[in-house]
């Protein structure tokens, strides 16, 4: 069994985007290291480097001070490194026992799976969490019939079943309730004593202070601090996570809070509920740029998609003074809404079609029959110019564009229609710095023209720099609304983490009802 693993000066790029520029981490047997960082600081990438899911662009991994190189995730697994991911690696139609032991089933003499031993071994693992299941969990239950927290537990058990010496818990507590978290932490203590090493990736300060021995803080892909938990306060950790000398240049200085108060309300949401959202209430005035903050996956996407008629919801939505309940995005478009989805490739673009076809997709019905292609091209060109879109021509496939230019196309297809309310889901994700600045000035310009923008970003500085107000989502409700002087990075991060403004840990653990 190895005794330590170190990552030194790790560099990892995705296309043109640098996810890690100087990542460092040390972990030894018998300790829990918390890997901490704001949204997009490179935590997930760091764990994927350690378990071999991604290939390094630079830096080194040391196993017991000897350099190692993972040829595949399997290689890391064989050397006793197991990961519990949030994205589940379970096969829904198969049972709990089959999933945990897939490829390592106990066999009988005649070559069949030994169900008895399989059951016993599974029961043994299941008993680790016994008492926290909503209904008693059985080895023969199919995964598809389990609620998400129990799926996450099975994922944890699957990782343990390899008997690893290093366990990476990547946001593994996100979907667990407080009893389950409590049990997991008891187990983590046991593992520590048994000489295992644990890397704990989490957003929840309270949990980090409960379980971790040491910490390592990532900021913008760089490790900016590490040390013993007992030597650090929550406030100091949050400070480490925050950029000191901000590279964020764009500050919307002429905040028009006063002006906007006289403008009519253009969006009013009451008790909006979906699977994730548990009753959202807010209103937005014309010309406002309102941010939505919070950790990833707190229901921001669902909020924007339900306003756009893509996701069913209950509750009332009033737009421009009238109540609506859209059944299809087209209805929302006709009222003057636009949605820039968060996953550009999967939701925003037609990869193999031309730039023209992408820009005009929502607008073709406006060009009559037969389509006035020349006018469509002129309009598309105009939008392209106004966005400073760099392309070889409108007929080129959109897949030939860089990330930033492709994002301009996703924005541009709505600009052609001149909508009144923009719903933006993390529009600067995976976009280069230059394009980011262009998008910022576009957004402020749109607001100056009287358009309204509702804007989710995983980049906290963007929210602070651009928005008039920020609504912070946590556990499916608006936890806090920040504006004016209260709109600071400290407050935003604290609110996202479920910490109250005074930097005291919340007594309540997120995830419970």
């Amino acid at each position: 069994m190895p005794e330590s693993l170190s990552a030194r000066n790790i560099v990892k790029r995705y296309g043109g985007v640098v996810a890690l520029s100087d990542g460092n981490l040390d972990v030894h047997t018998g300790e829990v290291v918390a890997l901490i960082g704001a949204n997009g600081s490179g935590k997930s990438t760091m764990s994927k480097v350690i378990n071999g899911v991604v290939v390094l662009d630079g830096g080194q991994l040391l196993l017991d001070n000897n350099p190692v190189h993972w040829s595949s995730p399997q290689a890391a697994k064989n050397l006793g490194i197991a990961t519990v991911f949030q994205e589940l690696s379970l096969i829904p139609q198969m049972t709990v026992a089959e999933n945990i032991w897939l490829t390592r089933e106990p066999m009988t003499a005649i070559g069949t799976v030994n169900r008895k031993v399989l059951h016993e071994k599974t029961e043994e693992l299941l008993s680790l969490f016994r008492g926290t299941y909503k209904v008693d969990l059985h080895p023969d239950d199919p995964i598809v019939s389990l609620p998400s927290d129990e799926k996450q537990i099975i994922e944890i058990l699957k990782a343990i079943s390899f008997d690893p010496w290093l366990i990476i818990l990547d946001e593994a507590t996100a979907s667990l309730d407080s009893r389950q978290v409590q049990r997991l932490f008891e187990l983590v203590e046991d593992w520590k004593e048994a000489g295992k090493a644990i890397i704990f990736v989490s957003h929840r300060m309270e949990e980090i202070f409960r379980i971790a021995d040491r910490y390592s803080v990532l900021r913008n892909g760089k490790t900016v601090g590490a040390g013993d938990m007992k030597d650090v306060s929550e406030k100091e950790l949050v400070k480490l996570m925050i950029e000191k000398e901000s590279v964020f240049e764009y500050i919307r200085k002429d905040s028009k809070n006063g002006e906007n108060e006289e403008k009519p309300v253009c969006l009013e949401v009451k008790e909006l509920q979906t699977v994730t959202l548990k009753g959202i209430n807010f209103s937005v005035r014309e010309g406002e740029l309102v941010g939505i903050g919070g950790l990833r996956g707190q229901g921001q996407r669902e909020l924007l998609h339900s306003l756009f008629g893509d996701v069913p919801y209950s509750g009332t939505v009033k737009l421009f003074g009238n109540g609506y309940k859209f059944k299809h995005p087209r209805e929302a478009m006709q009222i003057g809404l636009a949605l820039v989805p968060g996953d550009r490739g999967r939701e925003g673009l037609l990869s193999i079609r031309s730039i023209l076809d992408n820009l005009q997709l929502p607008s073709w019905p406006r060009y009559g029959f037969p389509l006035r292609i020349k006018k469509a091209k002129r309009d598309a060109e105009q939008v392209g110019e106004s966005l400073n879109l760099k392309m070889a021509g409108l007929e080129e496939p959109v897949s030939s564009l860089s990330g930033g230019n492709a994002q301009k196309v996703v924005l541009g297809k709505w600009l052609v229609r001149k909508p009144k309310l923009f719903l933006l889901d993390d529009p600067t994700k995976g976009v280069d710095v230059g394009t980011k600045a262009e998008i910022y000035s576009l957004l402020t310009q749109l607001c100056d023209e009287g358009k309204t923008i509702l804007f989710y970003s995983s980049d906290d500085e963007e929210l602070i720099g651009l928005c008039d107000r920020v609504l912070v989502l946590h556990d499916g409700i608006i936890r806090t609304e920040l504006s004016g002087p209260s709109l600071t990075k400290e407050n935003l991060i604290s609110a996202s983490l479920g910490v109250s403004n005074g930097f005291h840990p919340e007594s309540r653990t997120g995830g419970t009802l």
């Binding site: 379970l90 897939l102 019939s145």
Partner: protein, 323 residues
């Protein structure tokens, strides 16, 4: 979640329930129209007709479990039929017959391996690939035997047609063997792999299941089962016809769907599909006994098939409405 007996739970744990109900219903109707249905001779003459489709359905079921589909099985049946009918001949010896039975099985497995190669290793769409190879195989069958004819010795054919060991139709023994073999295979590690690959190939790959090899093997099995079906149907008819397998492809898919295996893969077994194949055959029996005008027979049969294929969709639509 207070009650765990959900639809999904029922369908994953007891996939045979629904096809069994359908089979009992259709047998009851058949019994009404054909009161001597359970007499040994009638039973045997029915079962020997059903058996080729049952064999074919088992192969199709395994491919579907592994997340694929095989449109070429009918073509493989035809190839085997024409090989036996031309190479063994009406006057052939039983040694010759055995020899070509073995060759047929190899040919079937080879045809399946061709499918598997294109689908698993070149990563082509299963439907369109096996559709293309179905033309290859059907064309090859026609090449071997351009006009219906040839055959196998009637003595050998009658072994298949009239054997009723212990007063039970031969087909019952074959079905029993199929179920036993499946019970074994599905409880081996390989069996788990089939379900894992069909259920969620990416997750299986992450867990180090040899996905490509498993997909490939499923088509080889399907080709092998199609060859068995071809041998059975040749023994049944005693003669050769290059178009004999054609209508069997869609029937095998329908039987699997009736049998409760999802199109999306990773679910079910072969017991349900076997029941499905019998149900489908019994329904055809019912149609021929119910004195429907002959002109209408094809239409009625085809409509029932489409209805059976659409049934899971209708149920889903209904469930979503309620939810």
């Amino acid at each position: 979640m207070k009650n765990r007996i959900t639809w999904d739970f029922l369908m994953t744990r007891y996939p045979v329930f629904f096809p069994l109900v359908l089979l009992v219903l259709s047998v009851a109707i058949n019994l009404y129209l054909q009161p001597n249905m359970f007499q040994l001779s009638t039973l045997n003459s029915n079962m020997r007709v059903f058996l080729p489709l049952i064999l074919l359905t088992v192969g199709q079921a395994i491919v579907l479990i592994a997340g694929g589909i095989d449109i070429s099985v009918g073509g493989i049946v035809s190839v085997v039929n024409t090989i036996l009918a031309t190479r063994v001949g009406l006057e052939g010896s039983s040694e010759l017959m055995w020899q070509y039975v073995l060759i047929s099985l190899l040919v079937g497995a080879l045809a399946g391996a061709i499918n598997g190669f294109f689908i698993a290793y070149l990563r082509l769409q299963p439907i369109i690939t096996t559709y293309a190879t179905s033309f290859l195989y059907a064309g090859f069958a026609l090449f071997i035997l351009p006009n219906p004819g040839g055959g196998i010795p009637s003595a050998i054919a009658s072994v298949y047609r009239t054997s009723t060991p212990l007063s039970l139709p031969l087909a019952f023994y074959v079905i029993a063997i199929l179920l036993l073999v499946w019970a074994y295979v599905s409880s081996t590690r390989y069996g788990k792999y089939l379900f894992a690959v069909g259920g969620k190939a990416e997750a299986a790959y992450e867990t180090a299941v040899p996905v490509t090899l498993v997909q490939f093997s499923a088509y080889v099995i399907s080709g092998f089962m199609a060859a068995l079906a071809g041998i059975a149907i040749t023994m049944l008819s005693g003669s050769g016809n290059a178009d004999i397998g054609n209508p069997m492809t869609l029937n095998s898919i329908t039987a699997v769907v009736i049998g409760g295996n999802a199109f999306s893969g990773g679910i079910g077994g072969v017991a349900g599909p076997i029941l499905g194949a019998i149900t489908l055959s019994v329904i055809q029996n019912i149609i021929s006994f119910s004195h429907i005008n002959t002109w209408w027979e094809t239409l009625v049969k085809a409509t029932i098939i489409v209805a059976a294929l659409a049934a899971p969709g209708v149920i889903n639509l209904f469930r979503r409405r309620r939810a």
